[in-house]
């Protein structure tokens, strides 16, 4: 009996952690502060926040296959919110040469999150994140790199023949 309770407690902790509550509350705090100073911008923030949270809730705890374009949209929502935090310290470049394929939801978003944590967050002047994708010989390569710590995460997959 105890083993089952431990298991479900761990599972619960894991799921909560996956939601990134810290990030959610910090984003809400920023949006709250903006309500007075720039209400239109705050409204936009709430929209971005809702989109990001919806995507997370739809994806967490299961392997969901999504169009890469949709994953990119989620990354944009996520980066919008991170920009509230980092401002000019967070710069983003996209080099998308291929986008007609599917990925596991949040897989690439997590790379972007790690790039911010390992790079941007550690520098007072921030840095640039580069998200790129290309196709060669039936293989699709997706990369996320940052220029502070110089890390680069890459995913390679076979393009499915339709």
């Amino acid at each position: 009996m105890k083993e089952e309770n431990d298991k479900s407690a761990n599972l619960r902790e894991e799921m909560i952690s996956e939601l990134r509550p810290h990030f959610l509350f910090n984003s809400l705090a920023c949006i709250s502060a903006l309500c007075r100073k720039d209400p239109a911008f705050a409204r936009e923030g709430i929209g971005e926040f809702a989109s990001h949270l919806r995507y997370e809730l739809d994806s967490l705890g299961r392997e969901r296959s999504v169009a890469f374009k949709d994953e990119l949209k989620e990354i944009e929502h996520y980066l919008w919110l991170e920009k509230l935090n980092y401002g000019d310290r967070l710069r983003v470049e996209y080099d998308i040469k291929a986008d007609c394929f599917e990925v596991t939801a949040l897989s690439i978003q997590r790379y972007v999150e790690a790039a911010i944590k390992q790079g941007i967050a550690k520098s007072p002047t921030g840095g640039t994140i580069r998200i790129s994708s290309c196709e060669k010989n039936g293989e699709i390569t997706i990369s996320v790199e940052e220029d502070v710590a110089g890390t680069k995460a890459t995913a390679v997959m076979l393009k499915e023949r339709k």
Partner: protein, 256 residues
């Protein structure tokens, strides 16, 4: 004056926090930092009474900053701020005064300030304490004030004795040096006085060209309390007034 440190690496939130603190403590001096590196340096240098610290800042750890601040002022009130409470235990180990969840409202700040662990300095603590009955002594928050020159202390004593009236350079020279040819030395004493009290953020004297006077509002003084009719101060008078200075005998005669 109450000194408050606000630290959060998100400038939107730092701004908001500053505004809330300003609303709750209108007279306070507010230091703020959104730069973790500068914050670490500040924490070893500036004594503050309250610190609102984001516990999870990018390049520096809020708990480390808190420990540094406690070394600089052991009676500091640390109030941690967080988006999510997984660091609660670390905060408790630090003997913090409070723990706030973001978004932080003005009310939350007010409640935190009202329930601080170590009492905040009131306006009396910010005054320089002067003792005239017995030997002349001058201290601030319990510690004797150390000037570079002994004569600076005597200068302050004389200005206190004059009770806020303006004193000319010639008059001061005559008292301190028994002649009036020490312009350069007098300037040094004045500089010493200003330098020493500037660090305390207190304006001890008022000056205009050729004249200087004590700023009575900056001091708590047993002699002044006595003149105001304070009975406790009267009890303190045991027949001695600025005993180490011979020119003080005139005032001593008046006190009998």
């Amino acid at each position: 004056m109450i000194r408050v440190l606000c630290a959060d690496d998100e400038s939107i939130l730092l701004n908001e926090l500053e505004e809330n603190v300003r609303a709750v403590l209108p007279g306070a001096e507010i230091l703020s930092s959104d730069d973790s590196a500068k914050l670490l340096e500040m924490s070893c240098r500036e004594p503050v009474d309250i610190a609102f610290l984001d516990i999870n800042m990018g390049t520096v750890d809020g708990v480390t900053v808190a420990k540094n601040l406690q070394k600089t002022n052991p009676k500091i009130n640390i109030i941690f701020c967080t988006g999510y409470s997984e660091y609660a235990l670390d905060a408790l180990n630090i003997n913090c005064s409070g723990y706030l969840m973001k978004p932080i409202s003005e009310d939350a700040v007010r409640k935190a300030v009202d329930t601080v662990r170590y009492s905040l300095p009131d306006s009396e603590d910010d005054k320089i304490k002067v003792r005239c009955f017995g030997n002349f002594d001058i201290s601030y928050r319990g510690k004797p004030l150390k000037f570079k020159y002994n004569k600076t202390k005597e200068l302050v004593a004389y200005l206190i004795d004059r009770k806020g009236a303006e004193v000319s350079k010639n008059e001061v020279s005559a008292i301190l040096f028994e002649d009036d040819e020490h312009d350069a030395y007098l300037s040094k004493l004045r500089k010493d006085l200003i330098d020493t009290t500037e660090m305390l953020h207190v304006d001890l004297i008022r000056t205009r060209k050729g004249y200087v006077a004590i700023n009575r509002d900056a001091v708590t003084c047993d002699y002044y309390d006595y003149l105001d009719g304070d009975e406790a101060a009267a009890d303190k008078f045991r027949g001695e007034y600025m005993a180490q200075y011979s020119w003080a005998e005139e005032t001593l005669a008046e006190l009998y």
